[in-house]
Symmetry: D3
Subunit: 327 residues, 6 copies
């Protein structure tokens, strides 16, 4: 069974809904009306052209992260957009339960206390049957206000709720509003920061059962692991490799050399297949003539991986982590 | 010959000088007086305990980047500190010319126009005999003001001067004042941004002879290369690998798997040995009992590298890029 | 002939385009692709259900103002969205030239100089055949930065271009980002300010041929005319009624008493029929069972208006002002 | 009996007091000393030249609103100026009780909690015999900080005190410090916002006995009523006319057409005569040769008003609302 | 002859004018109308009760500095208030030319370029016959924006005009808006800074004929002279006493010990009698039963001063510096 | 016995420690390691060349105030630097107990509550044997944020702890980050403000036993005493001289005339010898050929001081105030 643990919404009319929320700043209220028929058409098309084409059995779909506009005001439009986004995915999983499961986003406005994000998480898990959530480490979207890092106690109410509901979180930031940067790179920056912040503040001591999946192969951490072995060792006496082994990672990388590095550094028992397809990697690379985000063949081609290694990646780790997933 | 192209100042009394500049905000003027005798002692100690110990023949030393305080005000203290920092390294190379060459820093205050940075570069190259420079991509040190990215024409006066003087630049940021982040990670972030910004704006079209060396193995770029192949291909029709081949990289990584990835992705003809020793990687790792920044053995151990590959890394690329270096 | 001079875009896929621009902050470029077939369907539906239903012969359609996001950054996404918005309306007028004419919006980012807005105006008029434009008096959308009022010379490059091209401007702000206010009220506020600012600074002295149409019956000006008669008379010796007679007004009010006040205060030779249908007034009012924005019957019911008065309102004034309109 | 419910302080030495408070930022303390003799002279002059000249029997005088400087710091100077302003009016009513009653202002510094404003209200009503108060909907005077709208619970302590004391409030803002705007227009803007904010948040549900008098004929609301019928109907299912009937209005308009609109829209049983004389409308209009703020003849000239309608306007509504007024 | 070189406006109706400018933010225009009769009464009263009472022959009157509101916006109200303030003093000198001369203030808004301040200086000197001016070293009134210190070239246009017109400047700041401080102390702070800034930047080298009179005995400089002798000597090789001898000082101190220190440190040939009477020192001190600002007897009581010393202080220095003064 | 009550740290490696804290923003932790041998050498040198040379028996040494960087972030680096600074002085007093006693600094970050500063005070007094502390009246270092003045209750937790421990405080600010000013002058400014703030708010009523020593002869207060006699007398009915007699002063002035003024105004029973040697006054003045901060001879030369006066200054007052000092 091939589980793609990192995929985002397809179809739905969320773009128009978001444009209206921003234009009206919430004056029209937050009611979102999906066109179920149109969504069903989109899902069918997606199922065939994407999932079947690359041999994926099931995708865990979360909202498009770069659309989540966590830093926008008033906070209520962030909340409404999050709820609508979750509704679209819940409907997707309901329409085609064999091929999709939904992963929640939260109304992560910096003006909404973390505790209040949890209501939406509970709704998604308990009422809509979702199996996990997505966390944006920087709700300011790189705005000028400082937001507590993911190691701070500020985040503990969410971690408590995650442990209580037994759901894992995919680390994936929204956009960046800093003109110096690109959202495509801010994903990498924030995934990296998430790990450093949580290790430094020893969050795992307080929440040993917290399940964190760092997207895109863990940002820059596996590649730059040497400097963290040194820094955390010298300054805190920490074994960084041991700390890293408490996180999970998806395989959202699009070349075999980097995938190999990931598996070597963190081990296949912490990795799960994830493609973000269609998305960042959806480009037919002239050098190979193939879609960059069709990475299953790349993984299968790594000769030093055992069959169990591959099963870990494609199926077992996801099943172990997403305990609420029933095939 | 083993050339270590990435190393920073040792010895000198710059800490006290900096503390005084910040405390007085420049009221005492900018005169820096080095104690040549003490510096000579420090250099001798360093030469023996560091260079000889790991088999390095010569280091290219630049100022300690995280000390450069580019965002401090008034701008004159940034300028004075930069000049004093360069003087210390010039003196180091003068005291022990067989083992050290100096690489300049610039007075990169956001309040000082780029054109005015060039006077110090000329002084360092023409008067002090330096062979290259260091560039901080974000002179605000992650402050709230936006600074033009390295792809913008804002930076062109510096690029013109670099080409005119035929000197390469090592990309290496100063600290970050953002409490969300760590300076050790901001190095990686800014090295990554430098490449993305310069590729996006096609700086190489205007400055085909510009020589940029990205520290620490190129930030996160080699590991995350897939997403840039896709993004730049899809949006701009660019061959990202070709663009990347216009940059140089140092080997400032501290584990063999990442070094292998670097060499595979960018090729040994774009890589030069660099350790930042003593510095970030100066930690005796319990798992091996060895210093993490003693990376020469790691590189030598990579079986698939040819002798020429290794000579590229340890000597030839540095000599080719630092044309002003005469052994 | 019934001309509705105040109407906005229907159909098009601009919501998704805008959501993408904001999420990516322009990283994906500004290419907008309209689905002409879908647009044609939407227009046909609109033509029948809206125009035919209320007896309107032709609508002058401009973009939805509250969507224009003039205050967003970077400025290029404001520009791209304006261009796409104009393209949709140009296509609308091309598909159904008997029933629609297009009115341009401009890329009114506060970071883009007024002079540069004019390029888009020229494109719309000279290349796309548009007959007028829309002006947002406050490009900051009530943000914290001060923007020069419409009486300031800052705006003169636009006024010069308008006179040169002989096109009138409909005054209509975008949204407000001030949480204290509502965009529906900010329209009224800015229409009011536009008149006060232009009168105070005597813009008509410099641009006697400038044609300004103030939406929604002139904001609060006709109702509050007494205080302006007094203020401008006492402080500047101005005859405010005379100044007011240099502006045009649309009939974007939804009750007969207010329409009567408008006609009494400014005269029917300065008024043109405008409904914003579908839009603000599209509500079936329980007290009458009729759509509030179906105002043609209201105007027709005013017994003291002559036939010529009504022809002024429904046809003649619009034809006189929009000289580029050929039926 | 002709009651003018909207008039402001005449005489007193408050200008010098205010200039001193601002210059010293409160360093000299807040003691204000009125010259009772000079005030008596001013009142006598006013009584004859203003009240008698237009046939007003009694004025309800509140402080000059545009002088109240609510946004100035430190907050204590706002407080002291409010108290002195109230003292002047209390003295006025004491000197000439047949012709004047006093209406309080409050120390509405954004830095002073609403609850603390109420102490001054109690002093004015209970100790100084005042019969109502004035509310500035925007204590920031259009500064950059957001202040809760009048519909928010933030304001409830004041509403509770008003109901408890059974006093009505005249809505009248102070100045605006926004250079884009004029204080004469900000009055209209804030009066409009007050109504919208209180309707949207359904304040009347919680405070059915709260009495709010909106100055200047209700800002732009009666003229623009159509859009609010539509918006509140469509979005909230509200009958806006019914909501509007919970407010009172003064007749601070200076032309007969607008007065007619006001009476038609809200009914004479919600309107009370108010002139702000001398003030905004004090201009001898060349077209008629009469003072614009002499509006009694205008109202009397409206043929479709019954005698009771006129008695409502000139006397009965004011008496009904200002229950503490005893002729 | 007893000349009091430091005194401020008495009488006039500037408080009400200022209150109106701030309330309207300039909307009513800047026309100021003095009541000449009332001013004459005030002057006569002042002449008798103040000048005659303490034996002063003539006062040089400038506007009340703490009222000048240089930091207020828009800049035009600063300008208008400055002009009105000057007009009052010009009228004072015209009404009673034997007892008063006028000293100008300038429209020192930070938003008005220094060059434009000079037009008002020229008007005051050339048209109104004034003999000097007053300078506020900090036009921001201790606001958050940085303003160039008096040593910077920013101020040179004013210095050039002063030299050209041959008029001296009394250094005297306006108020401070910093809640941490008092305006009474900010005078001392800015007088001190003025001297330090001008000495450090060697303004006297460029303007050897510039005449600067530092109020209140030179702030803290004479008392703290030791630290400046040391600092300027050690850092710049300057003889601070020599630099100080290029400034003039008034005797605005209210005790004999401090007056003695002033005369000892700077010499009587740099000092001129100044009382600010009535003003800061107008308090009958219980310990002596005398007014503190009646300082003539204090100076006369200093036994070690020669007759010429006293004549310097009371007459000669003022006559030498205010060359436009003709008795 | 000659006690110098105002002196600062000599020797130690705090400059490098501070530079590192700022560069790393605390990432490396706060461990400070003194080189006791080097410190001993520095102390021996200082003892001979400074203390013996001018005849001082013992110095009370506090940290170099302008280095304390109270406004830097994160707050932990302020804390760490304060602790290290105290450790250096504690070690100094331990190495040479006959010649030095230590006076503490506190971690006065504006982000650290006053109550938390007291833990370090207790450590210094109870564990390290210190005899007093130093207070910076403006922890923002003249930054843009307002900090409560020393008269506010905000400071009371510190005053309570001082009284409880029976230790006096030397008032001495850190640097200023305001480019308009110099730190050398900000000392004077803040010493002045301290007195004014504490007198105005009557702190001595609540803390009659609080012991405050104002550095540098009390800022500008003794010289400008006349204006405060007047202001506090007129506005508050206070006898300023009596209030001033509740403070202590050091003799940190460098000329005999100012020292005489100080003794005349405040009396020798409130003054204690203090030189800040080596420091601000360490300059060999060409006019005398002597060091300016060698002020013992100046004081001894004042003929009108009695032997007891001089003993007060050199010994008795210090012993009385620093009750924890045992010779």
């Amino acid at each position: 069974m091939i589980i793609d643990a990192h995929a985002h919404t397809n179809g739905g009319n969320l773009g128009n809904f978001k444009a209206g929320l921003l234009a009206s700043r919430g004056y029209h209220g937050g009611h979102y009306q999906e066109n179920e028929e149109a969504l069903t058409r989109a899902i069918n098309h997606h199922k065939t052209t994407i999932l079947d084409a690359v041999g994926t059995d099931i995708q865990f779909v979360s909202p498009r992260p770069f659309q989540l506009m966590h830093s926008e005001k008033p906070a209520k439009i962030v909340d409404w957009y999050a709820r609508a986004s979750n509704d679209v995915n819940a409907l997707t999983a309901k329409i085609e339960p064999q091929r999709y499961r939904a992963v929640a986003c939260l109304p992560q406005s910096p003006e909404i206390p973390v505790k209040e994000w949890c209501a939406e998480l509970e709704r998604c898990v308990n009422e809509l049957g979702m199996i996990g959530l997505m966390i944006n480490p920087d709700p300011t979207e790189a705005g000028n206000e400082y937001y507590p890092g993911m190691g701070e106690e500020h985040w503990y109410p969410l971690y408590e709720k995650m442990v209580q509901l037994d759901v894992p979180a995919l680390i994936h930031s929204a956009t960046t509003i800093n003109p110096w940067d690109y959202y495509q790179n801010y994903f990498i920056t924030t995934e990296t920061s998430c790990i450093l912040q949580m290790v430094e503040k020893r969050v795992s001591n307080t929440f040993p059962n917290l399940k964190i999946i760092v997207s895109h192969g863990g940002g820059s951490i596996p590649y730059q692991i040497g400097r963290w072995r040194s820094n955390f060792g010298r300054m805190m006496g920490l074994d960084f490799d041991e700390e890293l082994s408490k996180f999970y990672f998806d395989t959202g990388l699009y070349n075999v050399e980097s995938l190999e590095l990931l598996f070597k550094i963190v081990g296949t028992d912490r990795c799960m297949f994830g493609t973000e397809n269609p998305g960042t990697g959806s480009y037919r690379w002239p050098k190979t003539g193939k879609m960059l985000d069709d990475t299953k063949p790349l993984i299968e081609s790594i000769s030093w991986l055992s069959e169990q290694d591959k099963k870990n990646i494609f199926e077992d780790v996801a099943k172990k982590v997403f305990t609420r997933f029933r095939a």
